[in-house]
């Protein structure tokens, strides 16, 4: 009796200390979480502040005459040699008839992107009836104008310190006052490949490159990874060899990604002689990179299947194969898919190994297949981040936003798949 009272006293004496430690631990956890969220918030705020302006682009409205003399001098349309830039210039001169002199005019012409001429060409190719007519069309302004309109160029600076001259600024202001210059949604960002001119540069090429690569990666890494996991978990005998393989797979997951790039360069390009810069090779390299992740996740998912289910099936006379395919796999699939999607998001964000296999080249054309030269989204970000033009800085941030958006969607998909398939039973 006495002893039990003693126990009670001892327990109660210890209680304040226990509560204090618990409170401290909770506070520490809260603090850590808060710090993490604050950092994340700062990162996103900064990214959006820098990148959101890239989703709009300054456009100039010009009345362009599709002059038959220029486009079809001999009656026949001569698209390849026609001077579309000349048409743009002519219409600019029409807006500012007072501008004379070679240098002044050259400055005037620089307000509009070099892409304007291509735009005219594409229009006339699409609709030859435009020949001889005059159309009011929006063409992209030069990136310097765009920067000025977005407030990134300080007009109060000395003329020599900014990329726009006083005269150019006056013209831009005049155009804007007349309603002929405004910012519009930057569709070029999503429809164009890379370009030297920021106002024409887009992420389409990089997106397609990433897309083709991920297709290759999913097609290879998922079936191979799942098959390897099933074999190792369910069929392989436990011995020194399987231990060795297990250790190596775990190590492989931790190998720096650039090493996989070197491997890809040595094996796929130098030895198998696959094309350089191709999404096919990128996909192969990324498959190698994600395989360990998928195998580890799949094995964990298989291990998590309750042994009682296995026993039940075995006890009914199911063969090992039937146990795996009828019972283990359906239950492990959500975990496997989650692992795969996480592996894919890692692959999507990977740039280092792609540098090694030549996917860092400047590629204007949007790739149309698995062996066309291509870059990937993270590599594009790397390339743009390296460019000196101010306008590329905001595009870098915009590309990062797009990449993060894709990663978010993928991770969300992983969560949804897990929830959906687990809730079933």
């Amino acid at each position: 009796m006495n002893e039990s009272r003693n126990t009670l006293q001892k327990v109660e004496a210890g209680l304040p200390g226990r509560r204090r430690r618990e409170t401290m631990f909770k506070l520490a956890g809260l603090l850590a979480t808060t710090v993490g969220i604050v950092f994340l918030g700062v990162f996103f705020a900064d990214l959006i502040a820098k990148g959101s302006s890239a989703f709009v682009q300054t456009q100039v409205r010009l009345d362009v005459e599709f002059d038959a003399q220029v486009i079809a001098p001999g009656g026949e349309m001569d698209i390849a040699y026609a001077d579309f830039d000349g048409l743009v210039r002519a219409s600019l001169r029409g807006v500012f008839p007072d501008v004379s002199g070679r240098n002044e005019r050259r400055e005037l012409y620089r307000l509009v992107s070099v892409g304007a001429g291509y735009q005219l060409r594409d229009m006339i190719v699409a609709d030859p009836n435009l020949l001889g007519t005059t159309q009011a069309i929006w063409v992209p302004a030069a990136s310097t104008v765009d920067m000025y309109v977005k407030g990134n160029i300080d007009a109060s600076l000395d003329e020599s310190l900014r990329p726009l001259s006083d005269a150019q600024i006056a013209w831009v202001d005049a155009l804007r006052a007349a309603g002929n210059l405004q910012t519009q949604f930057n569709s070029a960002l999503f429809s164009n490949g890379d370009s030297r001119d920021p106002e024409l540069a887009g992420i389409r090429g990089a997106l397609m490159g990433s897309f083709y690569m991920l297709i290759v990666t999913v097609m290879l890494a998922f079936p191979i990874g799942v098959a390897a996991a099933i074999y190792l978990e369910e069929f392989a005998p436990r011995n020194r060899w399987s231990d060795l393989i297990e250790v190596n797979i775990n190590n492989l997951a931790a190998v720096p990604s650039i090493v996989f790039g070197l491997l890809g360069l040595a094996v796929f390009i130098n030895w198998v002689a696959l094309p350089r810069s191709a999404p096919l090779v990128g996909g192969l390299v990324l498959s190698l990179l994600t395989l360990p992740v998928i195998i580890i996740a799949s094995r964990a998912a298989i291990k998590a299947v309750p042994p009682s289910i296995r026993e039940a099936a075995l006890g009914l006379g199911a063969s090992q194969m039937q146990v795996v395919f009828h019972h283990v796999l359906p239950l492990a699939l959500p975990g496997m898919l989650t692992g795969t999607i996480i592996g894919m998001s890692r692959a999507l964000g990977e740039s280092a190994p792609l540098l090694m296999i030549g996917m860092v080249a400047f590629i204007v054309d949007v790739p149309g297949g698995f062996s066309d030269p291509a870059t990937a989204l993270p590599v594009q970000i790397y390339l743009w981040a390296d460019s000196p033009e101010r306008a590329f800085a905001e595009r870098t941030s915009a590309a990062i936003i797009v990449l993060l958006g894709f990663l978010l969607v993928m991770n969300l998909a992983a969560v949804i798949i897990r929830k959906r398939m687990e809730r079933k039973w």
Binding site: R310, A312, A313, L314, G315
Partner: protein, 309 residues
């Protein structure tokens, strides 16, 4: 014997010797005392000698001769010989860790999937050696079904749970036949009335007792010759237990049933013979009445009177 009948009806707890002892923390003391008893028994083990009673039976169907099982270095079953006839219920009893489950799992080769397990000796089913190379464990398990301690329905519908065995063995030629097998099996397992209208609902959504009957239905759907049950009622309440025991009674008309149980009342109620295991040895086998009224071996007597937990 008197103590046995008066003790509580929960199947999980073997009759405890320490119930009436005066102590502040009864469970711990009981555990310690049981441990001491076991240690004591271990010393006696040396002179257990031959199995007492009668390991042979009329018209044997499952015959185990000199079976030894090792888990690595752990000698879990020591030279056990036992015959089981085609239409009887035999109960395996004994203290925890004595090898009842291990022996049971030898009979349908479930130990195959345990890497460290090694089985020697002969076990035959209807005269065929089940451990021979020609004998496929898949075919064996279709003939020797198993019900586990914890109800383990597949995370599939009730229908699919019962239909699974017949499907993989190709027992039904068409859907109608399969329906009939499922229907009959559920009926025999005494579950049909409760689940008739919810065949498409998951089997895991049933109550524990219903799940266990579902597992029994699943087992008999394959129409085995022998049913092994490893403490099938230990997770169930007395009412669900009674239902399963009734069921065993009915099933024993068609199947040989080998049941592991910790409940002596259960063994007394359902079985015709009882085999008492101790530390891997088969100590005594005899008719149930005889074991419970007049055990021949000291260890058996100690166990059934609650002196070994």
């Amino acid at each position: 014997m008197a103590r046995m009948t008066e003790s509580n009806s929960s199947d999980e707890q073997p009759p405890s010797m320490e119930l009436d002892a005066e102590t502040e923390v009864p469970t711990e003391a009981a555990v310690a005392a049981n441990g001491a008893q076991l240690a004591l028994a271990e010393e006696q083990i040396v002179d257990i000698g031959e199995t007492v009673g009668n390991v042979r039976c009329e018209d044997p169907y499952v015959v185990a001769e000199n079976v030894n099982v090792f888990y690595g270095d752990n000698h879990a079953i020591k030279d056990v010989t036992l015959e089981i006839s085609k239409k009887e219920v035999i109960a395996l009893i004994g203290p925890s860790g004595c090898g009842k489950s291990t022996f049971l799992r030898c009979l349908n080769r479930m130990n195959d999937s345990i890497e460290t397990a090694r089985v020697s000796g002969d076990i035959s089913l209807g005269g065929q050696d089940i451990y021979s190379k020609e004998f496929d464990p898949v075919a064996l398990r279709a003939r020797v079904g198993m019900v586990f301690q914890k109800p383990n329905p597949f995370p599939k519908s009730i229908y699919d749970n019962v239909a699974y065995g017949p499907r993989i063995h190709g027992l039904a030629n068409d859907r109608a036949e399969l329906d009939e097998i499922v229907h009959n099996s559920l009926e025999r397992a005494g579950l049909l009335k409760e689940v008739k209208d919810r065949m498409d609902e998951p089997g895991t959504g049933l109550s524990g007792g219903q799940q266990q009957r579902l597992c029994i239905a699943r087992t008999i759907a394959v129409n085995p010759e022998v049913i092994l049950m490893d403490e099938p009622c230990s997770a169930l309440d007395p009412i669900a237990t009674a239902r399963i025991e009734d069921l065993m009674d009915e099933l024993s008309e068609d199947y040989a049933i080998v049941i592991v149980t910790h409940s002596m009342q259960q063994a007394a109620r359902v079985s015709g013979r009882v085999a008492y295991f101790h530390l891997g040895l088969l100590v005594e086998v005899d008719e149930t009445d005889k074991i419970f009224t007049n055990p021949q071996h000291k260890l058996t007597e100690d166990y059934i009177t609650g002196r070994i937990g």
